[in-house]
């Protein structure tokens, strides 16, 4: 469990990036943090593993204040995957990259091999086991960064823009994986601009604007509120855009799921005897 109490954070140049944030993340929560560039999203999540410490207020991970422990200790519980994979990759082979943290956490050799093989397979990277991460494509490097964190199986996974550069199939895999993590009561927090991905994942959505939380609720409510989204420079998901326009026919406008969209339109078509 992560509790955040009235957190303010200012960078060295006195720019106040977080202006009083309070939030409780329960075990097993699945949260998408959204908001425009510069809203403070990345600054905020860097507080979850102590990379940044609040200028005032508290962040507690499982009851322990982040100012009273080390990033290394927190990392065991909170795994962080950065926006730009080049900021976290450094090993000579994909395999070494994934094994690195496992070695540091003191896992035995057999477990390391098992975990590395699992992570490689899971993210379709097995063929690159011996390849340098720097020879891979942008999307593939992103997957290596994700694999290296998944391998140590942290309780909470924090993903900064996990879908950037990923094709549709990889996104689908990521979505299924997140759903799988949820059945294991893992906590997943992702920062993303990808409205379509959020619409498909259906998480709790937290909307940030100017260093503050401006909305917190279920995806269906927030992603169909065009006024709220517009203020945060986010566009409605495609399906919601269609239903906003169709609302003059008396159809509900709060639809983000494609199957629900299909059924709603088919019912209307039957009413009008078009089908």
């Amino acid at each position: 469990m992560i509790t955040v109490e009235n957190v303010h954070y200012s960078y060295a140049n006195n720019v106040e990036a977080l202006k009083g944030i309070s939030l409780t993340i329960n075990d097993g929560d699945f949260i998408a943090i959204m908001g425009q560039n510069g809203a403070g999203k990345t600054t905020f999540i860097k507080h979850f593993n102590g990379l940044l410490k609040p200028s005032s207020g508290f962040v507690r991970v499982n009851g322990v204040e982040t100012t009273k422990t080390s990033v290394a200790t927190l990392a065991r519980n909170v795994g962080f995957v950065f926006q730009n994979p080049d900021n976290q990759l450094f090993s000579e082979s994909v395999e070494d990259e994934i094994a690195f943290a496992l070695k540091n956490f003191g896992f035995d050799k057999e477990t390391i091999t098992k975990r590395v093989t699992w992570a490689l397979e899971f993210l379709s990277l097995t063929q690159y086991r011996k390849t340098s991460p720097f020879l891979l494509s942008g999307g593939e490097r992103k997957r290596v960064a994700l694999a290296s964190v998944l391998a140590w199986d942290p309780e909470t996974l924090v993903l900064d823009e996990p879908t950037i550069g990923q094709d549709y199939e990889q996104k689908e895999k990521l979505r299924h994986f997140i759903l799988q993590l949820r059945t294991k009561k893992k906590t997943v927090v992702m920062v993303t601009h990808d409205v379509e991905f959020v619409a498909e994942c259906n998480p709790r959505v937290i909307l940030m604007c100017n260093g503050q939380i401006v909305a917190d609720g279920i995806a269906k409510d927030i992603l169909t509120n065009s006024k709220l989204l517009e203020e945060s420079s986010i566009v409605l998901p495609q399906i919601a855009q269609i239903f906003t326009k169709l609302s003059i026919l008396g159809l509900p406008s709060d639809i983000i799921d494609i199957d629900e969209a299909e059924n709603t339109i088919l019912t209307k078509a039957k009413e009008r005897r078009l089908k």
Binding site: N84, L135, D167, R272
Partner: protein
């Protein structure tokens, strides 16, 4: 007239066992807006790198086949010669930014062309305003956010006003509304000034509407090329792992369920909403 013409291109990175580009022939006409998509690792980025000679001159490796850009065989040309014709915006903006301020980064290419100071000032301001970062002009490109860095990279290329602009997932770090604005700017330049645009993107929801020349790549080859409305309705394209726009997908689902909206296959939600309104309002 083709401004980019590739014939039988095969390219292998140094040390790689398989070619990244595996027999690609392609013609891009002047003034076209071409969209290239395909699963990650399919060779899209490598293909873009051949357009200005970064492959093979910078990346080395083995290149077979021919690349003609603006009527010239790239093989005998230096990168700076080609750069006058082709502007490339990379996937990762950090790879192309280096100056002490945003405006110096944007001005760098122009300085190298030997442009006068006044003309340079005009061009830099024009490009900064176009992508909405005029206020950031005195900041260091390395202290602005990933999304803003992408705008700097785009402005640097636009300032050069090249005949051909190649953009490799240029807005991946930007929020959707800002991304849409950038795509609109690029589309406008394409329509009004006839600049040829080659855009690499996964997010067809945002971009399919701008093109009538879609290229789908897989495993180093071009597997579909042509009208996006036809290609995106093809079952095989889904299997490759291309993200079909939700509007196109919904159109297909409704048709399969027996409700044919009986219109042009839609590429965007706005287009499909209008079609649905018309039909359901009858």
């Amino acid at each position: 007239m083709s401004v980019i013409s590739l014939s039988d291109l095969v390219y292998t990175y140094p040390g790689a066992s398989k070619p990244s580009i595996d027999g690609v022939s392609l013609n891009i006409a002047k003034g076209e807006f071409v969209l290239i998509t395909g699963p990650s690792g399919c060779g899209k980025t490598s293909l873009c790198r051949t357009f200005n000679g970064l492959i093979p001159r910078f990346y080395q490796g083995e290149l077979k086949g021919q690349v003609f850009v603006a009527g010239q065989d790239i093989a005998g040309k230096q990168t700076f010669d080609v750069a006058k014709h082709v502007g490339l915006v990379f996937q990762n903006p950090e790879n192309q930014l280096f100056a002490l301020s945003v405006e110096k980064d944007v001005a760098f290419g122009l300085e190298n062309l030997g442009m006068s100071r006044e003309e340079m000032r005009k061009r830099v301001d024009w490009a900064l305003n176009l992508v909405g970062i005029y206020d950031l002009r005195e900041r260091s490109p390395h202290e602005v956010s990933g999304g803003q860095q992408q705008r700097v990279a785009i402005a640097s290329v636009l300032a050069m006003q090249p005949e051909i602009i190649v953009l490799d997932e240029p807005t991946s770090f930007l929020d959707p509304l800002s991304a849409e604005r950038i795509f609109e700017v690029i589309y406008k330049l394409n329509q009004e000034q006839g600049i040829t645009v080659v855009l690499v993107e996964h997010r067809l929801d945002l971009t399919a509407r701008y093109t009538n020349h879609l290229i789908v790549m897989d495993k180093g080859k071009i597997c579909f090329e042509g009208n996006p409305r036809e290609i995106l309705c093809n079952e095989k394209v889904c299997q490759i792992g291309v993200g079909i726009p939700k509007a196109t997908l919904l159109y297909k689902k409704l048709k399969t369920a027996g409700f044919d909206v009986n219109s042009q296959i839609p590429l965007s939600s706005a287009e499909f909403a209008d079609q649905l309104l018309k039909v359901l309002n009858q």
